[in-house]
Symmetry: C2
Subunit: 250 residues, 2 copies
């Protein structure tokens, strides 16, 4: 990986990515949606070049890869017209279908696949509730209660499934698609005066799941320490997001 | 179809749906996301019972079918546990995979499927921009310019594809998933003093596409006259949405 470990920003020259047909992955290092794609790339051992994008001051050339300037995006230089794809779930499904890796991550059964896609979407209310707690200084008082209520769905579901992973005995698409937020929740113990952590009784099985997933090789390859997430959150509190903080020592 | 043509609301007793194993479709008659599912049900000639839900005052029992109280939902009474599915695109893909009908609507090629899913999502900015024009009395001044800019993407894309449908020579998933909003845009000629219509030059190929899709049998089976959409929009302007207006004569 010859590409620099820094976020390209407005005015940055276009990086010289080797013309070797290798997939290109556009990301912001703290973006949970981008991490979803990174997890699939790692789980399936898909060779790729990584280009980091500064989301506050996007480089002018980025619109060529992601029409709305969003991350994640991937580009497929080995295909005619070098198509680019956006939307984390669309990219995840495309990669899962195109790269067999150690087996499919999406369920083969159409009903189970639909149910898993719905479950992934059900994290959205928890994410909406916790975002002001992550990224603002004065979140609404009901943010954490709303977050916890939304998260109950996942404790109930892992309990109902009765398997170590949402994917069953093996890690699967739900596990990878929801993981990035579970990596970030522990940062709150460093940013909040209350040293907030998920309740060990209320989320018993979910926390067991979290500890298990944390050991997955693809997860370990993409993970950041919660203290680094906390440092980034603090830069967001000051409205001065520092993306490159990801590459600094703790 | 023995079920009543009315929207069930708070206090409505649970409808007696025949226990005949037939798929159940939960909808609000003016909901564009629900119409997506209705289009697939019709295109694939999938037998179904329709249950209309009042979204302002939802019946207490509806949460059993749609965990967040959303429409559309489908229920599959022929399967163990009678599972229910939500999210229009998830349902559309499930139905497309399970019911061959006259052929698949989603592209078989994973890359084209990903590109089509991304294109469907790109209607979202146009929808966000036009919603206040549909449903409020005093939309922001930049609503229509923003809407038109977002819609340019579709004029460019149908022109680039060079085929009568987004799906090619046959109607496909993009056509059906974006149609509901194109059915509603002409209502603005009745609700706005300007008698707004899409510009015939700027959206030349897209309007040609619209006229063609309007002739599709599944579209005709689900469509409402723009004057009925306009009547419904006016009830929303008064904050008194009248869903059953769909079943009244013009």
């Amino acid at each position: 990986m010859a590409l620099p470990q820094m976020h390209f920003k407005r005015g940055s020259p276009k990086p010289e990515i080797p013309e070797d047909g290798v997939l290109r992955y556009y990301t912001m290092r703290f973006c949970p949606y981008s991490q979803r794609v990174n997890l699939i790339l790692n789980a399936k051992k898909i060779p790729h070049h990584t280009v980091y994008i500064d989301l506050s001051e996007k480089p002018e050339w980025y619109i060529d890869y992601s029409p709305l300037g969003k991350v994640p995006a991937i580009q497929l230089p080995q295909l005619p017209g070098q198509p680019a794809l956006v939307e984390s779930l669309v990219i995840a499904e495309y990669l899962d279908e195109q790269y067999p890796g150690a087996g499919p991550l999406f369920p083969k059964d159409p009903l189970q696949k639909a149910l898993d896609r719905i479950l992934i979407e059900r994290l959205a209310p928890a994410v909406s509730a916790i975002y002001p707690v992550f990224f603002t200084k004065d979140p609404p008082a009901d943010a954490i209660p709303n977050f916890e209520k939304a998260l109950d769905v996942f404790e109930q579901e892992i309990t109902k499934r009765g398997t170590p992973y949402f994917g069953g005995d093996k890690i699967g698409i739900v596990d990878y698609m929801i993981w990035p937020w579970f990596e970030r929740f522990p940062a709150l113990q460093y940013t909040l005066d209350s040293k907030y952590q998920l309740d060990k009784t209320r989320y018993k099985n979910l926390l067991q799941w979290r500890d298990l997933v944390a050991q997955d090789e693809a997860v370990k390859a993409t993970t950041l320490d919660p203290r680094i997430h906390a440092k980034f959150m603090r830069t967001r509190h000051e409205a001065k997001p520092d993306y490159d903080i990801a590459f600094e020592p703790l």
